[in-house]
Point group: C3
Chain length 480, copies 3
């Protein structure tokens, strides 16, 4: 007999009965607030075209490196999970891959993936039996059937999920056609883009040369000259704002910034455009470009997000066979205090600049990030990120940042996901954990219950809207 | 209607009812023990002259960088908070600054500043309504009125707070006149000094040259020769001991120590006294001076405190306009294992030397500091410091150091504050958190209740007195 | 009147009543499972010869650097604790040393040593009064008496403790005679060895030259040539496997690995064998040898354990007087992401290789180790180690690794001890803490109770057997 699946109404609340009571009351006030998702990686094409998804494997498993990294870590070949190689081979059948996943679903016990998936299974698809080997086919079939119905099309789910704002992320070399199709379609869902120029900034990125060519084409600028290159960024930032963007995003190996003179910056740019740059020069150019991006944000008001500290593509063989974003990115020690100083020396006191900092190195929460955000007007703390977007990770984030940075220098939750169906689950986890944290403050008599209620709203909606300037007037492309 | 202010008797105790019961009982045994404050930054002149304070802003807001750093981080101009610039301008009225603070008091939810201030408001001034915009004037007026009365003079509060021992911190270039006036006054409050020679050791400190000149003047030594410089330290250490000091304090950028030969040390000293030193030489000289100070401590018995790891004055523009100690000091990663080895190679086994280590880098608690203090006879662990002097910070300190260093290699609580009125609040927080930690050990059956009671006393009074040699005979200046 | 000693049945369980109830039920299912001890430092000679131990000091105090490091840290001379100097002097009487220990037993409040010892006292020796000054002689006498009886011989205790598998650790230069005597004796206790070649790999180790000579002698290989040296490792690995070994162990200062060409490796080897190597070359050779050991593990199936990050013999004076392993090893910051890359570039995807990683730097749990183990098929996480083998340390390990690596990329518990009598106590602590952690997951509705029960078994026996290949067929020496 199959095991039951049910989402306990008290899940993730504090264990203690008194604190749990407070958490329950707080959570009730925010559980059904709209979802604001200001940073993520869903595919704008889904909402532009509103085509149905086809099956569980291609929707839930294949795009989610959290899932197949764990299966891979236990010796399961990615080929068997229908994760395509760069050369297109091999094509495992979706159903076989799903069965293998179901057989190994126990591996996820204690992980956030398990929480998110169970939420999707129970809440989005209505399952009341758990996923296991015996129910693999039942799941596969019922999900395929559901996905064929109008209620499971991207736009219908967007509405059903109560999403008020969803930002995708596109490269500087992207033509934003999906966003333009959304705008042209008359659909009222707020799906906006985010300016992510890494591909045209990071000379060590494998897309750099082609991205730069496309960057030139889209802007008509001479991107191989320093002034033309900067002008191209300005044009594309305007394009992105026209497609609703309120923010930029920068995924760099480190948080290094630089503050070179105009002459030095131009000379560095020329070396980067040539073929004899060193890794140190590549790093310095990324560093300088963060400061250039900050300068443009002061001009155009876009919020900057900095996501540093991941050693990308650590598994060389896997990168060769399957390419990037295959679960082989490993966090590294990250310095902020020295790294950000050049940028802060130039813009630290600006009150018209907003930079949201993320980290994969939790040792910086209390030591560096909270003191920085608790001082500099331009700095805010992004939520616990990636591996730390989890119940324990979120608790540590609150425990290690609140006392120094306060709650008002944080920006609410990001789901940061390409797994669209898990968005409600992820926001629900964050709301439960934050309400649990606030409940503990109440139960320890550190804040009053009415203060906790105000804060629960802020962490869910208020701070997010303000931090990402979401209450700004509707922008051109969206209003069109 | 104004919100109520009340201090809940169970605040900061564990949430769990069983552990809370134990904590309550333990706390009752230490709640009213005398306050021993062996490390802090109050102004000895207050107790020398016993002049009344004037208003809430100048007493509570303007000297407390914990408060205005948070307001500044939210874009509030320091000028509006009556924080003076180096050039003296501008003079915001105290009342206007206080109103602005009151309007933004919500920013402190979840921070220790909020706990300390509410304690001061309720317990020291007797408020029963909370601080908010509507009560700003009520607060300002009632505090001004109270401060005008004899009961709110510094010495009266010192007695009311039950302070048994209070150490201030003075530079090597200080003439200790305030301490001499206290001694001459016949007042019986134990207010002693601490020898903090950073200003005459750190050539990168902006006061170095004038401090050195004053150091020469006060000692009559040729401080520009290595032997004269060391002799001047010895003289001043004796002066400080005569003013009650039992300890020295060293706030260095890192924990680096060195163990140079006499010839090397003298050559380095000459470079530092010249005008061509490098930052590396400045660092090496600070490192060597920690070892020299340890050597003098072996001679004269003064306890050494090392406070490393803060990147001071990180905000260049603010340092230029407002000077140091304006909330812009940011902790950095700190190494102890390699940094302290030269000093420990020389004095590690000394049982007549006592060095109290502090950190702003919590990742060193379990990894480096507890193993070091749990081995070397001369090392002890200072309490959680600065940004970590908070409920969560104190819990982490105990959780990450106790299992390796034990409780007997720690030294009780330091308030480390210039905010005199908050001293009882700060000690109260520490007592509550420590009793909560002990209560958890009892509830998990790791220690017996009677052991917890012994330990609660130790953490509050016993260890502090022993670590700082406070039961030593009364010293000359105080006995005069 | 002496204080009572009793082990509370609920010790170390969560404080919250609901979670405690769950923990209690889980613990009952694993409390009496056999002990699998796949990594430790007991003396194989004890089991080979089954001679009685003599007294409390030589059995419990003198071999346990956790104990005397704490006493030493409080200024107690090691001479007074019967810890022998390298020159053999002085010989404090066992009873006097024991009394001094008993007088200072309070120092261990809140430490795991206290938990382990009380368990040994109550459970192994049957004491019902606590150790303190007044009971020192009672303890000393009763322990001596017990040790004289057959029931307290090594093999009898091995059986009484329910040990199913016990691995000791021997150097590559060890002749394994004790293991051979066990095999020849016909005793059925499974005591196996582990291949620890540090002494013949680390040229900075004081035993390097004599160990290498012995290595040559035991293998008949020309260990001063690169090929002969590698062949000698292969032979000794085979010898160790014949004595039951399923694993190797590598205690290096860092986790550095290298992947040199054959030519480079041979040239480096020649420098190491000469007398002009640099510390950087010593490090590179250790790094290269980890990769060579991985290559041999791919051949012969032995599990690799890497224990990096301890600055050994930090106290120079103590090392000179008393030698290594005297409580003066201090953890340091440890990098894994970059350090392991060369080895992983070569073997990262191997599913026939198993490497168990340990750390003394908890900041790497969530940042580096869990992401690495949650991706690479060849990597698993060893349990919290050494200073972190403690209730709080184990909790942090689970909280910081489970969400990213899952529980199935961990390997159960290691006691890692030379204190044989404490083995049941240590495994009991781990079982209680792990059940408490699982109970919290259940109480927060993150996993079901039946899942927790499966996991409790896995963490105690299942994962350990699989990770250390303990269900492999019995090997030659043991089967003989």
């Amino acid at each position: 007999m199959a095991r039951q699946l049910e989402l306990h109404p008290d899940r993730l609340f504090p264990v203690d009965a008194a604190a749990r009571d407070v958490a329950r009351v707080l959570y009730a006030t925010v559980a059904n607030l709209p979802i604001i998702s200001p940073h993520g990686h869903t595919d704008a094409g889904w909402f532009a075209d509103d085509r149905p998804w086809t099956d569980a494997t291609s929707l839930l498993l294949a795009p989610d490196h959290y899932l197949y990294r764990m299966l891979y870590s236990q010796g399961i070949d990615l080929d068997l999970l229908a994760i395509p190689r760069l050369d297109g081979s091999p094509a495992t059948a979706s159903r076989a891959a799903w069965r293998l996943f179901a057989q190994n679903y126990t591996l996820f016990r204690g992980t956030p993936s398990r929480l998110w998936l169970d939420h999707v299974f129970a809440d989005v698809f209505g399952f009341d039996v758990a996923l296991e080997e015996a129910t693999a086919d039942l799941y596969f079939d019922r999900i395929a059937e559901a996905l064929g119905s109008p209620a499971f099309r991207p736009r219908a789910l967007f509405d059903r999920f109560g999403i008020d704002f969803l930002a995708t992320t596109e490269g500087a070399q992207d033509d934003l056609s999906a966003h333009h199709r959304i705008a042209a379609s008359g659909w009222k869902g707020k799906v906006v883009t985010t300016y992510r120029p890494d591909g045209v900034i990071d000379v060590e990125h494998e897309v750099f040369r082609p991205a730069l060519a496309r960057f030139a084409e889209l802007t008509g600028e001479d991107v191989y000259s320093w002034q033309g290159y900067l002008a191209a960024h300005r044009k594309r930032r305007a394009d992105f704002r026209a497609a609703g963007a309120t923010a930029t995003d920068h995924g760099h190996p480190t948080a290094a910034t630089a503050n070179l003179s105009a002459v030095e910056a131009e000379a560095l740019f020329q070396r980067i455009m040539g073929s004899h740059w060193t890794p140190a020069e590549a790093e310095l150019f990324r560093a300088q470009m963060l400061t250039e991006m900050a300068a443009m944000s002061v001009e155009d008001g876009m919020v900057m997000q900095i996501h540093p500290g991941s050693a990308r593509n650590h598994n060389a063989a896997l990168f060769a066979s399957h390419g990037r974003d295959k679960g082989a990115d490993i966090p590294t020690r990250t310095d902020y205090v020295h790294a950000l100083k050049p940028l802060l020396d130039r813009f630290g006191g600006a009150t018209d600049l907003s930079i949201i900092l993320f980290t994969l190195d939790e040792s910086t929460y209390a030591r560096e990030l909270a003191p920085l955000a608790g001082h500099y007007p331009c700095l805010k703390l992004g939520p616990s990120w990636w591996f730390h977007d989890s119940p324990e990770g979120m608790r540590r984030f609150r425990e290690m940042t609140t006392e120094t940075a306060g709650l008002y220098n944080t920006v609410g939750f990001n789901d940061d996901t390409r797994a669209f169906l898990s968005i409600p689950a992820r926001h629900d986890v964050a709301r439960r954990i934050d309400c649990g944290f606030l409940a503990r403050l109440v139960t320890e008599h550190r804040i009053a219950d009415w203060e906790a209620a105000e804060l629960a709203y802020e962490l869910t909606n208020g701070l997010v809207r303000r931090a990402y300037k979401i209450d700004q007037p509707r922008l051109a492309a969206q209003a069109a």
